[in-house]
Symmetry: C2
Subunit: 400 residues, 2 copies
C-alpha cells in the first residue's frame, strides 16, 4: 500500500525555465508532498542530501503550530519545483525581502523530498511530555562513540533529498529562513552520494570503504516487511497514537579512518565486511544477493569471520529486525591532522529503535571488526510523523 502510494505520487514536474533541455527525466520529476506516509522514506533514494537539525527558540505551542503550517506550505511548493513562498523569488514588492532565496530559479524539482521529524526534547520544551513516544529518548552512548554535542540531537529535523544538491540546499535554507524567531539550525550535514538503495529498481551504491552498502536493505517493494519493520502501528504506543503511520529516524555521523583503511590488505577488508569488494557477494557466495552461509567453514575457521560486519548485523541474530537505511557519503574537508573528515552519514528508519536499532548498534559497537575504522561523531533520534492529507500540516495529529 505504501509502495502504491509512492508510485502514484510520482509525476512529471513542471518544465524548468532554463534547464529543461539538459534535464534528465528524473531531474524533471517530482513527488507529491502529501500522502499516507511522508515522502523521503520509501521513496527511491535520491543522489544528494542536506540534513538539518533545529532547536526551538520558542516554547509557545501556537508558535510551533504556525511554524509547522508554514513549513508544510513551503515544502509542498518546493517539492513541486516552485519557490518557497506564494509570490516567488523576484515577483514581489522590491522593497521587501523576497519570499524565496532564488538559487533554485530555473532548476527542475529533481525528485526533491522533505521529511520532518521531532526529537525527544521537542516534547519537553512544549509541555507535551505525556505524548512523547516511550521509544523516543536520546540515543545511548555506544562504546565507540566520540560524540560532538554540537552535531548531535536537536528538537526538530529536516531531511531534504534530491538529485540536484542545489535543490536540497535551497529547501533547507528556505525552511531555516521561514523558521526565524521560532527555530534555528542546530547542525546541518550535506551528503554527496547515496549509500543505500530503497527500491529494487536501484543499483547498490558504494560507501567510502569502497564496498557496496545496503545489499540487504529493506526495499519499498517488500510491502509486508515494510509494514512490519518500518511503520509505527496504531497500537505500538498508547501515548503516541499520533505517530501511527510514521517511523523513527536514527541518524549517526560515522567518520571513517579512510587513510588507515586504505592500508589494509584486500583480504582483510573483505573479512571485516564479510563480502567481496568487487561484486558484493557474501564470502560464501558468488553473487551480490546470495544469502550468506554463516555455518560454512574454510579449513577450521568460519568462512565469514565471527566478527564480520555482515554476520553481526544480520537480521537472523536480531530477532528478524530489519531497517530501511538511507545514508549518504560525506566529506567535510580535513581534520587538523591532515586526514579526510569523511565517512557515512547513516540514516535508518525503523518502527521501534528499542528493537530495530539500539541492540544492533550495541552488537556492532562491541564486536564488529569494522569498528576499528569507524568513529561516530554525531548521533540523533527523531520521531517522524505520518503523512498528511489535504488541508493538514505536518505533525498535526500531535497537536489535536
Amino acid at each position: 500500500m505504501a509502495v502504491a502510494g509512492v508510485a502514484g505520487a510520482f509525476a512529471a514536474g513542471r518544465a524548468s525555465a532554463d534547464g529543461a533541455a539538459g534535464a534528465s527525466s528524473a531531474l524533471a520529476s517530482s513527488y507529491a508532498f502529501r500522502g499516507e506516509h511522508q515522502a523521503g522514506i520509501v521513496t527511491p533514494a535520491q543522489d544528494r542530501l542536506h540534513f538539518a537539525a533545529f532547536d526551538l527558540t520558542t516554547d509557545d505551542r501556537d508558535d510551533v503550530v504556525a511554524l509547522l503550517q508554514d513549513w508544510t506550505e513551503a515544502a509542498e511548493r518546493m517539492t513541486r519545483g516552485d519557490g518557497a513562498g506564494e509570490v516567488g523569488p523576484v515577483e514581489g514588492d522590491p522593497l521587501l525581502p523576497p519570499d524565496d532565496t532564488g538559487e533554485a530559479i530555473g532548476l527542475p524539482p529533481a525528485r526533491l523530498t522533505i521529511t520532518f521529524g521531532f526529537g525527544p526534547t521537542f516534547f519537553d520544551k512544549l509541555g507535551l511530555a505525556d505524548r512523547r513516544p516511550a521509544a523516543l529518548r536520546r540515543l545511548p552512548h555506544f562504546p565507540a562513540d566520540v560524540l560532538d554535542p554540537a552535531i548531535s540531537d536537536g528538537d526538530l529535523c529536516i531531511q531534504a533529498c534530491a538529485d540536484d544538491p542545489q535543490v536540497a540546499v535551497h529547501a533547507v535554507r528556505n525552511l531555516a529562513r521561514i523558521a526565524f524567531g521560532r527555530a534555528a539550525v542546530r547542525w546541518s550535514q550535506l551528503g554527496f552520494g547515496r549509500t543505500s538503495s530503497t527500491s529494487t529498481t536501484q543499483d547498490t551504491p558504494r560507501n567510502l570503504f569502497g564496498f557496496k552498502d545496503g545489499t540487504a536493505n529493506l526495499k519499498a517493494e517488500q510491502e509486508d516487511l515494510v509494514d512490519t519493520h518500518l511503520w509505527v502501528h496504531p497500537d505500538d504506543d498508547a501515548a503516541a497514537g499520533w505517530l501511527a503511520g510514521g517511523s523513527y529516524l536514527c541518524a549517526r555521523r560515522i567518520n571513517m579512518t579512510i587513510e588507515l583503511w586504505d592500508r589494509q590488505p584486500l583480504a582483510d577488508q573483505e573479512g571485516f565486511v564479510g563480502r567481496t569488494k568487487g561484486t558484493g557477494a557474501p564470502l560464501t557466495g558468488t553473487a551480490e544477493f546470495d544469502e550468506p552461509d554463516f555455518d560454512a567453514v574454510t579449513g577450521t575457521s568460519p568462512t565469514i569471520p565471527v566478527d564480520a560486519h555482515v554476520r553481526l548485523v544480520h537480521p537472523s541474530v536480531h530477532g528478524g529486525a530489519q531497517m530501511l537505511r538511507r545514508g549518504y557519503n560525506f566529506v567535510d574537508g580535513s581534520t587538523p591532522l591532515g586526514a579526510l573528515d569523511a565517512g557515512l552519514f547513516f540514516i535508518a528508519y525503523v518502527r521501534d529503535p528499542d528493537t530495530h536499532f539500539i541492540p544492533i548498534q550495541n552488537t556492532m559497537a562491541k564486536s564488529d571488526a569494522l569498528m576499528e575504522y569507524l568513529k561516530v561523531t554525531g548521533s540523533a533520534l527523531f520521531a517522524v510523523p505520518p503523512g498528511i492529507a489535504e488541508g493538514e500540516y505536518v505533525g498535526q495529529a500531535l497537536f489535536t
Copy 2:
C-alpha cells in the same frame, strides 16, 4: 588553439560495469589528461568539485619528482575512468592493500579533470626559490579577510572536478593515499554546484545569493582573450619560463552571511549586485548579456550604484583585466551560532595575479556593497604548470 585542444580531447569514455544504462552521455565522457594546457581550466565547468591543498612532508627533490610522476600516472588513469593503480581495486594480491580504493568501481568517468598547482612555499622547501615566479607570493591580507590559516595556503594543490561527486572525491582520496610519506592533505573543500560557466555552451548558474554568477566570465571560445588573460607567456617571467602555457590559480573561501542577505529587500540585493535577480540583466539592460551602462542615471543617481559589484569589478576599471572563474557553491554544515557555513569557493585562473586578481580584489574589498555579506575565511595562490606531452610528468619543466 586551447579550445581546439579541449574539444579534440573530449571522447567517449569506457562503458561502466554497473551504471552504463543509467549514465547520461556527459557522465560517460572523459577528457584527455595530457595536452598543451592542463585540463580543468578552460574545460567546460563540471558540476562538482573536490579541491585539496597539500603540504610536503619531505624536502628531498627526488622524492617530490617521484610523487609528481606517480600522480601523473594515477591522474591519467582516473580521468579515463580506470582505477588509480595499474592493478585495480580488487584484482591484486589479496594479501596486499589494493592500489585503488574502490568507491568508484562501475562509475563512468563523469568528465573528471585533475589539475595540479604549486604554492609559493613549495619552492622554498625544495631549494627552488630561484625558479619561483615573482608573482607567486602569499596573497595579501585583504580588508575583509578573516582567514583561518588551517584552510589557507599550501605547498601543492589538486583541483578535481567531475559531474559525479563520488568520482571527484575518489580522485583526491587516491592521490592523497599515493602521496603518503611525501605530502599530506593540509585542507580540503567540496563544492556541490558550479557557479561559473567556462564555455558559451553552458547556462550561467546561480550562487547562494540567488543571482546568476559569472555572466561576464572569460569563456573558452574567446580564444584571443584566453590567450591574453589566462595563459602565462614564455617571456612573462625570466625566472619562470617553465610556467609558460600555465596559469595562476587564486582560491578564496568566501563565506556568505546567508541569513542576513535573505532579509534584504529585493531592490537592495539587486543594487548591491548591479543586476536583476531574475534574468541577470544589468540594471541598465533587459537581457543577461547586455553590456552594463555605467553612465546611465535614474533621477539624479547612477542606475547602477557606485558601489555595485558589477561596476567595481568590471574590466573597464581594471585596465581590461579579465579572469576565468571556476568557483563552486559550498555548504559545510553550520556555525556554532546556527548560521549555515555556506558560500562560494571562488577559483579564478589568471595570467598574472598582480594585474588580474589582487587589484580587483582590493577594489572589491574596500568598496563593494556585497562585502557586508561576505567573509573570506580561506585564501591561497598556486602556480599551475602547463599541460604535458606523452612521457612527461606534471611540472616536469620546473625540474629539468
